[in-house]
Symmetry: C2
């Protein structure tokens, strides 16, 4: 199956996605019968496009080069000009927009409008950009359903840590009663460093930046809003919560002090920034806050830039998942995973191995 | 979608499966559009059958009653007489054989021949019985593929703990380098009891029997063969190992002594019966043995009748999954989950929520 991809966003994750596709080419062909081609790479001011697919050596060298707009073949143009950037509708190929851009969590823009329009044009969606789903989950699902396209977003809900797959497939048939997790690497690194090395919040933040974990503006992480976005999307997707970001009570970690951490340590607990969605009698309550977790709890043992999640269900009791590498390579990997599962669904999944 | 089910086996798991289906009826309809009907319940000497589906109140009362052959409506007949027991081919319904019987691990019989024949007749397969897959994994996959039916076996590879889903969906696109897990509840209960309560192997085994964990003949558990079957199926399914049970080096727990456990405790380790499959240069090696695991390791923290598994992959690093209730209800739940995912695949999965 030939898959024509428009890749939006060419930061660390977009570039890693290109390298990963290139590396996995023969594996994807032999094991899954998939032949991906990147038709266009699009950034804010324009992009590079080749109707039959950009040559792989060129793509990889672009991924390893500097700013895209300084490269050969770059054409200026608005990213929202989908006629220009999407694979043509009559190509007979499976067409996918992979969104690795950044959008505002409240409005979902500029990603939201673009993804909606691409869906209406019959493009399947794989988004690493969580904002469109945070801003309007139900709307995105509805647009995709009406257009008959698939909407995949593993990379938007903790990437390397399987969350949405777990609910959808591994817990199919079960009712999810609660989801709680350490869903943001940067804040977990900071809390672990404060605890293990007795650092202040500011020192730990500085260190996480030095390691390249925290982004240059780490506000979305530190404020808890990144975690809030993830747990919100999970609650909407897995528990039918129908909530908006404004329904989530969010406390970040910037007020956490070494003294608090020491206090809880004496009580046998460690602070984790936990996003939690719990089904109540007739609603779902969603909250993000620094939470003292007993040392024996699996979530307490998620250290450094790790992630972990726990689901409680009616049939399967508690299920805890820990790990899944962090950083751009796992994010790129989750987009690849979505692509494989999307291809299976489009092709009529045989439910067999592979 | 109407699903016509032939349920083979009416022990604890088969009965719990019936109760669970009954309890989940309206949920399955509203959320997944599935209407299951149990056409027949088949045991060794015959069964009960109703072409339009056995009435649910009758089914549930059968599940709560004694031996099936003493119940009203029971008809004698060989279980392999598929003409008699399977839903009719021209029914227009999705037909599924759910296998909750017991078979021999070496030969896979009597389940293997029956499942093969049912597949050839166009029945999808959901098996909680691992033996047919242990005995001839490649053959089972091939028969299913040729017949164009789905083969689902979550309940055969650690049931409530998602293993095969994780590899197939959550780790799609990644190469699995190793799988290691605590995959058998009974032996883990025994090892934990020996360690925590300083019991001898015999005392711990007696206790697990008293709790109804160990079967009346716990040999398959204690010998490590149950774990061997599970890790073998996982290695074949997830790593393309193409191995047979005779390729697995198996050491059970019957020789484990309190003294060994005390020795390892001093070294900061606890004994777990680990099934492990590791990719080597050009092969996959599979082994089951009591293994000293450092306390900090997540698998060491799988206590009592718990289960846990760790996957190592190229893209996502290490992923550990712990939990998933044990016992008949989780096994039944895993068959239900397979049914839902099978229905999605048959129906052309929309890849959306729900």
């Amino acid at each position: 199956m030939q898959i024509a991809i428009s890749l939006y966003g060419f930061g660390n994750v977009g570039r890693e996605f290109v390298r990963l596709l290139n590396r996995k080419m023969s594996y994807l062909k032999s094991r899954h019968g998939i032949e991906p081609r990147v038709i266009s790479v699009v950034t804010r001011r324009g992009g590079i496009r080749a109707e039959s697919g950009i040559d792989w050596p060129v793509l990889v060298s672009l991924a390893n080069a500097g700013t895209l707009c300084e490269q050969e073949g770059f054409v200026g143009g608005a990213p929202d000009d989908l006629d220009r950037w999407l694979p043509p509708e009559d190509s007979g190929q499976v067409r996918v927009l992979v969104d690795a851009t950044w959008s505002d969590l409240s409005t979902g823009e500029p990603g939201l409008s673009r993804l909606r329009e691409a869906a209406r044009r019959g493009c399947h969606l794989v988004t690493l950009n969580k904002a469109p789903l945070v801003a309007d989950f139900d709307g995105m699902v509805q647009v995709a359903r009406e257009a008959g396209v698939r909407l995949k977003f593993s990379g938007a809900t903790a990437a390397g840590l399987p969350t949405i797959d777990t609910v959808r497939v591994s817990l199919a048939g079960a009712e999810v009663r609660s989801i709680e997790g350490v869903l943001n690497s940067t804040t977990n690194y900071i809390l672990t460093a404060m605890s293990d090395n007795a650092l202040s919040f500011e020192e730990a933040l500085r260190r996480s930046r030095a390691l390249g974990l925290a982004e240059s503006d780490p506000e979305r992480d530190v404020s808890g809003m990144d975690t809030a976005g993830k747990i919100l999307v999970l609650a909407n997707a897995a528990m039918g919560a129908r909530k908006r970001l404004s329904d989530v009570k969010v406390t970040g970690i910037s007020e956490v002090t070494s003294r608090q951490i020491a206090y809880w340590a004496v009580q046998g607990r460690t602070l984790r920034l936990i996003g939690r969605a719990v089904r109540t009698a007739d609603d779902v309550s969603i909250e993000v806050k620094p939470t003292p977790v007993p040392y024996r709890d699996f979530l307490a043992q998620v250290t450094g830039d790790g992630k972990g999640v726990r689901f409680t269900t009616d049939i399967f009791g508690e299920l805890t998942i820990v790990g899944g590498a962090g950083g751009p390579s796992a994010a790129a990997g989750s987009a690849l995973k979505d692509l494989v599962n999307l291809a299976r669904a489009v092709d009529g999944d045989q439910g067999l191995i592979p």
